[in-house]
Symmetry: C2
DNA sequence: ATTAATATATGCATAATGCATATAGATACC
DNA sequence: GGTATCTATATGCATTATGCATATATTAAT
């Protein structure tokens, strides 16, 4: 069972975009980024480039801007198509901190569940 | 910040029902259960009884039955209103095993993300 | 010219999910 | 006997999440 398959259960994908949001906040924490370029940087967090839904990525970024977690501006004078460059806000950093707390709790709950599973299946 | 609050970010709740599904499969792994009674047993996995959406619980159980992960029958001769009692299927046990794999990977990704956060914020 | 790569964005359908509400039997209490 | 409460299951509605397909435009390569 490869990593890609592990993101699925019952033929459906689950809960990628919200985790993506946290990864994006973290990637933007200390440097700016633009949609297409963030694809590569997201792969570090387990989003394979083939599997990643680029439409979701753009929509997530715009939604985050709408919630004032990031700001964006069109890059000046680069070659190639224009890039919308995103920067995290203070609100975004606070939100990231909240997400970290949530993820720590979620991790604890997962560990608890796995512990029960192992005890029931004798592993 | 209490546990309840930790389930929220930006005023919205996230991703409870799918995790609930895995908890339900695990709770039904070695004994049967019915909706209302499972509320209490779910609290072990961090679902507080006040906060838990009972409507979601029933819908999740019916959906799981629809997917052949569990079967149900009306309990015979108990006192009080009738109970729809659920039992896990072999399919459900296989599905639970798949979910455990997914949760292990998700846990690893969370740990990775927290590691990066800590390194960026100097904790 | 045509194709491919880079780059951003929207439309549509389905699933997830909180909140409110409906239904109904059993029990307690006055 | 009537009423409130607890137990128990279920549905309707609105919003959000999310995959898939598609549209648009610039630049580079052939």
């Amino acid at each position: 069972m490869d990593d890609n398959h592990l993101m699925f259960c019952n033929g459906k994908q689950h809960m990628m975009e919200r985790f993506m949001e946290v990864c994006l906040l973290l990637l933007l924490y200390d440097e700016t980024g633009y949609g297409y370029g963030l694809v590569e940087r997201l792969s570090f967090f387990g989003f394979s480039e083939e599997q990643l839904n680029i439409g979701s990525l753009y929509r997530t970024l715009r939604k985050m801007e709408n919630e004032s977690l990031v700001t964006s501006l069109w890059e000046e004078g680069g070659q190639g198509p224009r890039r919308r460059v995103y920067q995290i806000t203070e609100t975004g950093k606070v939100e990231l901190g909240r997400w970290i707390d949530i993820l720590k709790m979620r991790k604890a709950r997962i560990e608890k569940l796995i512990g029960v599973y192992d005890s029931k299946t004798g592993k």
